[in-house]
Symmetry: C2
Subunit: 795 residues, 2 copies
């Protein structure tokens, strides 16, 4: 049974409803005749039909009950309309099928199961019908979007040419997404990252609805996308996970590792000889369906790849201040605070004359990261960011507690690899003739600064820690992250969220059950519509109370399909949380206290892959059983909800001067858990506009039974028992303690399932792969794990 949860629907008073119905050309007079209103309304709800006969045919396809079609039912004047009649028709308009999806005898039962709203009584007065129609138009369809959106996708607004139209607080699809002006401009930055003595010019690609040419000013959805102009092959520069861990000799202080900005050189401005319109057509296509969805709703979409990408000047810095400045420069141009030119080297200036001065940033991963980066600049005109699966500190992407770690699935990647990957300027060989030396130096410097030898935090990483600058944020923030994202791990979003808590801005958090994916095409949540409410409020000044309408925290359940919980905050002690500490001797039990980390040997002998290792290390009976401690709790008698940041305190000794420690918290017990990738429900069902692009609709569903599943994990270099820059030498055989956090989680552990704790050494998927076998002994009596729980699941 499908569940179409909905959070973006506003409850409007009747007068507002009538006004909005009238604005979209539907009957709206509560004093008008009841049946005439019904007839006139149903004549309008089949926009594909442009003649009375075609409308009658469309109505004949709808069953009202077992005897009448809508066409025959409308032939006899009706004085009342039962809810059953109304919703039999309504469900078919929403895309559901009588006889299969629902029964004509029980539409209300189906609507309740599907979480669709209904009016509370049969329809007797015209006002009853109008309000029921208003509610139905704002109800979600089987096609992800609301009924009014779905009608618009079939041409409901094709003859509307009167500027913006808002319905239920959201901008409607009245512009023509097919008729885009596609153009490039070059923005003059304050940077000279390629050292040629000239300001780096940054290409930006603009897709704007043609209606802007007629004078309508629109806001911009800007996606800073380093991948926009292509990526390079990185096989040759990807690192081998090192077989030896370094003995660290140098400890650092907070001051040592603090970034201090270098003074910017004073660069000459380009001479401008006049102003003109764009001279270059944008031949790249948009890459995010949510952006595309908003084109027909009166939002210009803008992409810019930044320094060092094809068509722009400069070199890449993998999240450095030059990349933040690149994104900020685009916003400054959009809001009139910076110059741009029609060509990369010419002197004709060009303005964003079509922009209403308000900008939102969107994007996932590196793209969402740059949205956070730009937000921390406090740049004027940036009203909100919707950042998904974003990095909030690059140290939390490529390093962890003094260890080199890999983004999940990309063992051997590092900052220098990503710099090569995104240096698409390399694709323009003409650019490269004079740039090869500079780029080679730049890359060497990144390789040096990222310091794969110690894995420690330093000033270079500190430059890339956007959380240092959260206090500068002036825009509202929407953060979205997958609870199973082991590429950009959840610490990035939760540490960011915690840093925002006390800032005087609006902030919203979405946590879904996906890995490193977008959220807008998941059927069970009206994320697209929520963002319409949000962006209409932020960028178009619609008075829709979006900050109060949308929950602060929306979390997808990991057990009940298509279920989303809303909370006031996440993992915060003030909000219905408690933390319990469990020792590892009685609370968790297991046979042993020692293990020998020979994971690399087994991994190589068995020709394992990272994926296979990750599956194997959490199996009750595992290839790696001798390379780990396997500790379990008794099954719980009640459902428990973990939420927040688990903390590990371990006392141990090892027989070597170096060691990696990994800890995994595991959900143990046979169960059909969600698959790692959402199922495709409809390959092209999410329509992004009238006669326009489509995207697939997906949903997370229970997959094949598994014995266990990773809840969360963490890794530490044992030479960094306190933090990522202070070092403590290890004396083999001598006990010491380490304290570190696991990745944040929200995890429903059903009754009868067990928590298991896996303590092991190197993580073949994430850490270096030392070949020397190290023996570990855990003093379980002096070790513990603290687990945070939500006390009242729906608190």
């Amino acid at each position: 049974m499908m569940k179409l949860n909905q959070f973006a629907r506003i409850t409007a008073d009747p007068a507002t409803q009538y006004r909005e119905l009238a604005a979209i050309g539907l009957p709206a007079d509560p004093a008008a005749d009841f049946f005439a209103t019904i007839q006139a309304t149903y004549a309008k709800l089949f926009p594909v039909a442009s003649s009375p006969q075609a409308i009658a045919d469309a109505q004949a396809a709808i069953a009202v009950d077992d005897y009448d079609t809508l066409a025959t039912w409308l032939q006899t004047p009706q004085h009342t309309m039962t809810r059953r009649e109304f919703y039999n028709i309504g469900l078919q308009l929403l895309g559901f099928e009588a006889f299969t999806d629902f029964q004509l005898t029980a539409p209300l039962t189906f609507m309740a199961q599907t979480k669709l709203p209904v009016v509370d009584r049969d329809l007797i007065h015209t006002a009853d019908f109008l309000q029921a129609i208003y509610l139905l138009l704002t109800t979600r369809t089987k096609h992800l979007v609301t009924l009014l959106d779905d009608l618009a996708n079939r041409g409901f607004f094709k003859d509307y040419h009167d500027g913006y139209l808002f319905f239920n607080g959201k901008s409607q699809n009245v512009f023509d997404a097919r008729q885009l002006v596609r153009e490039c401009v070059w923005i003059e930055s304050d940077l000279d990252t390629d050292g040629d003595g000239q300001r780096d010019m940054l290409e930006a690609t603009i897709f704007r609805p043609k209606e802007t040419d007629a004078g309508i000013k629109m806001p911009a959805l800007f996606t800073a996308n380093p991948y926009f102009h292509g990526t390079n092959d990185v096989d040759a520069v990807t690192h081998d996970p090192d077989p030896k861990l370094a003995v660290k000799t140098e400890s650092h202080t907070k001051a040592d590792v603090t970034y201090h900005p270098a003074p910017q050189p004073d660069l000459p401005h380009r001479t401008a000889t006049g102003e003109g319109k764009a001279e270059v057509y944008a031949d790249e296509n948009g890459i995010y369906s949510l952006n595309d969805y908003f084109l027909g709703r009166g939002f210009v979409t803008v992409y810019s790849a930044g320094v060092g990408t094809r068509g722009s000047d400069g070199v890449r810095s993998t999240g450095g201040v030059s990349e933040t400045a690149s994104a900020v420069a685009v916003i400054e141009w959009l809001t009139g605070a910076r110059r741009a030119f029609t060509t990369r080297t010419g002197t004709t200036e060009t303005k964003a004359w079509w922009c209403n001065g308000k900008v939102a940033m969107t994007g996932k991963s590196y793209l969402g990261t740059l949205a956070i980066a730009a937000a921390t600049s406090g740049v004027a005109g940036l009203k909100t960011v919707i950042s998904e699966a974003a990095i909030s500190s690059w140290y939390d992407y490529y390093r962890e507690n003094g260890l080199v770690v890999a983004p999940g699935g990309y063992q051997g990647e590092d900052a220098d690899v990503l710099a090569v990957d995104t240096f698409s300027r390399q694709k323009a060989a003409g650019d490269m003739l004079k740039l090869r030396g500079k780029w080679s130096q730049t890359l060497d410097a990144i390789g040096q600064a990222q310091d794969r030898t110690t894995g420690d935090y330093n000033a270079w990483w500190d430059e890339r820690n956007y959380r240092n600058n959260l206090k500068n944020i002036r825009c509202d923030v929407v953060s979205v992250h997958g609870l199973n994202d082991w590429n950009v791990k959840p610490a990035n979003v939760i540490r960011f969220w915690n840093g925002l808590r006390d800032l005087p801005i609006q902030k919203k958090l979405f946590l879904h059950q996906g890995q490193h994916v977008y959220l807008n095409n998941v059927l069970s949540l009206d994320f697209t519509d929520m963002m319409n409410l949000w962006l209409s409020y932020e960028l178009l000044g619609v008075d829709n109370d979006a900050p109060a309408q949308l929950p602060n925290v929306t979390v997808q359940d990991n057990v009940e399909p298509e279920t989303w919980h809303t909370y006031a905050d996440f993992g915060h002690s003030a909000h219905a949380h408690k933390t319990r500490q469990y020792d590892l001797l009685g609370d968790f039990t297991g046979e042993r206290a020692s293990f020998a980390d020979n994971a690399t040997g087994t991994f190589k002998a068995r020709h394992q892959t990272s994926d296979l290792f990750e599956a194997e290390i959490i199996k009750p009976a595992s290839l790696y059983r001798d390379a780990r401690l396997w500790l379990t709790q008794a099954p719980a008698s009640d459902t428990r909800v973990l939420e927040g940041v688990p903390h590990v305190h371990l006392r141990l000794w090892i027989d070597a001067p170096t060691g990696i420690l990994s800890v995994r918290l595991v959900d143990l017990g046979p169960a059909k858990r969600f698959g790692t990738v959402a199922d495709v429900i409809d390959g092209a069902g999410y329509q992004l506009g009238y006669d326009y692009k489509t995207d697939k609709i997906v949903e997370f569903k229970p997959a094949a039974e598994t014995a266990s599943k990773l809840i969360t994990f963490g890794h530490v270099n044992l030479q960094n028992p306190k933090n990522a820059y202070e070092i403590q030498q290890i004396t083999p055989g001598e006990a010491f303690t380490v304290d570190f956090d696991l990745q944040p989680t929200h995890y429903v552990l059903p009754a009868e399932r067990q928590l298991a704790l896996v303590i092991h050494g190197a993580d073949m998927a994430q850490t270096q792969r030392p070949t020397a076998v190290v023996n570990y002994h855990i003093d379980r009596a002096s070790s513990s794990i603290s687990l945070p729980f939500r006390v009242n699941e729906n608190g």
Copy 2:
């Protein structure tokens, strides 16, 4: 190393080349100044740039050698241009990158490796340059299409508004695919399949470039697509593979099983009250990227789902004559030979006034099947079909030699299941109110007629054997099939091809290494461009000699990546073939002659799936080792190329009155063979028009090493030792012979690899699953397999 094989490029004489260059607005005068011609040409090849400065910037991105960009190189008059200079620039225009894809010192080496054509000398005269540019424009890019197509995708023809434009024999992308008129019409058929006394009205959806409104007449690409308006859930009607095989008691003659058409009732025509334009907008989207690609090239695309689908009248018949008649009716309307109306029940007639009277059919699977079906009607106006993975006889889809078999991956599917699947009329509940009884009777009749009890051929299946009517075909035929398609198996295409051989039509055959997939987005073949040549010839009357230009048979190699062989014919004794017969006692060796078919027991005990069974049954060491004979040949010392239809002759006895026999021919030996699914090379790299849709680009690549791979297989009911309708009772313990064909194949077996023959009973993925264990004894000395080989691989 990528290989961009090309078959659709025509060698044109210089005068034609100059004329065509002039037609697209490029310099074309061989008497003009050499350097001025070069300058003027390179100014035109950056259509995204609309000003001299923007063009100069684009030229600056191209390296001519290690010192000059195209911009600087063009600043000094040149009297010659070396091939190295020309192709350094050329490769960058084709989308390749200097320094990574190729070296500026050796562009010609790269072009040869990539199979790109080059002129044979440095450029001295203007004519040399013009001819080199012409060749380059018709050369394939990294983006699958030719350079001129790629330029068109960036706006090269955006200001061209002068009707069709042909270049190198192919229609160019000069129409606006974004500006489609989308409309529905209802075609009046001669059928009354739902028995309501009225002619079944058949909905057709039309996407036509807006230029037709201005009077340009275009041909139609018509796809008869039963899935177009959605499918139904079939879980409830899918059959369980039967645990018992029936003892057949009734044998049949050819006459018994011959279909005789029923007389068509004489039905009243609808009264027409006048003529009008469409009244219904088409809200379904096109489903085939090749169709979409041709919109901008001046082809209308038409989809119709046929009887029993949503928006149409009638009921489904799973390939019966009513479905052929549905497809033919659409062609008749397109060519002016049949009436259609603007609405399903109204009286306003409407004509295909925009159609030039020429139609091609396209589509894969059921869609391609209906293309074959329509072709066998001989309907006028249908000039060609491009049918991919098509069924040529439904018995060869759901049955085999007296056995019920499943399409690969769809165990339990049958004709009745597919009828339910495609009966999308069910989605219109208003339609269903009066139709439920009729549909239920129809479905019962299909269930009865398909006869899952005996699995024998009968008159009902004979109605669905399009090969009975090949002599009626008047159109040219392109057939495409995957050599690994175990859903619609290759016998469908090869038996069809063999039936076409002596007909006075043009026919082309493509065999690729995919399963049940389209071919147009595979990078190593210019199938899209080949079809442009073909359709320009067939539907637009272009004198491009397409039948001679395109190879008769094009086959993808299964060992060498990105390699396509061309042949005069397939598996035909007249063309460099020989067949060798191998006995199963000396030529093939193995330890045993007997096995007990307990496959169903093992399958169920091990909770196997069809996929797992198929992998397991061909493993050298297998779960099913006791349920099969495993016979092998010695490794071959040379590469051998199997091509054609292997034939099995077995003498055996079994200890039961019923039995299934399966035979698999296997390629044995560790090797990295192609994956079953092509790798995605570029997720959106195949651009279908200017500012228009994209599709992914794919390629078949060697995947992880496997021990063996299925070459081909076949199944027989042992009660049908001769054919699918004559029965012979089995006396347990008494020997008899069976003769049957395996699926056709083209398979390169490299030296040192072995052929293995697996003889077993039930096939869990394809046949019924009997639970009684049957013992088989093969008289190996009296048994043999005949294998057809291509003598000269490139013959």
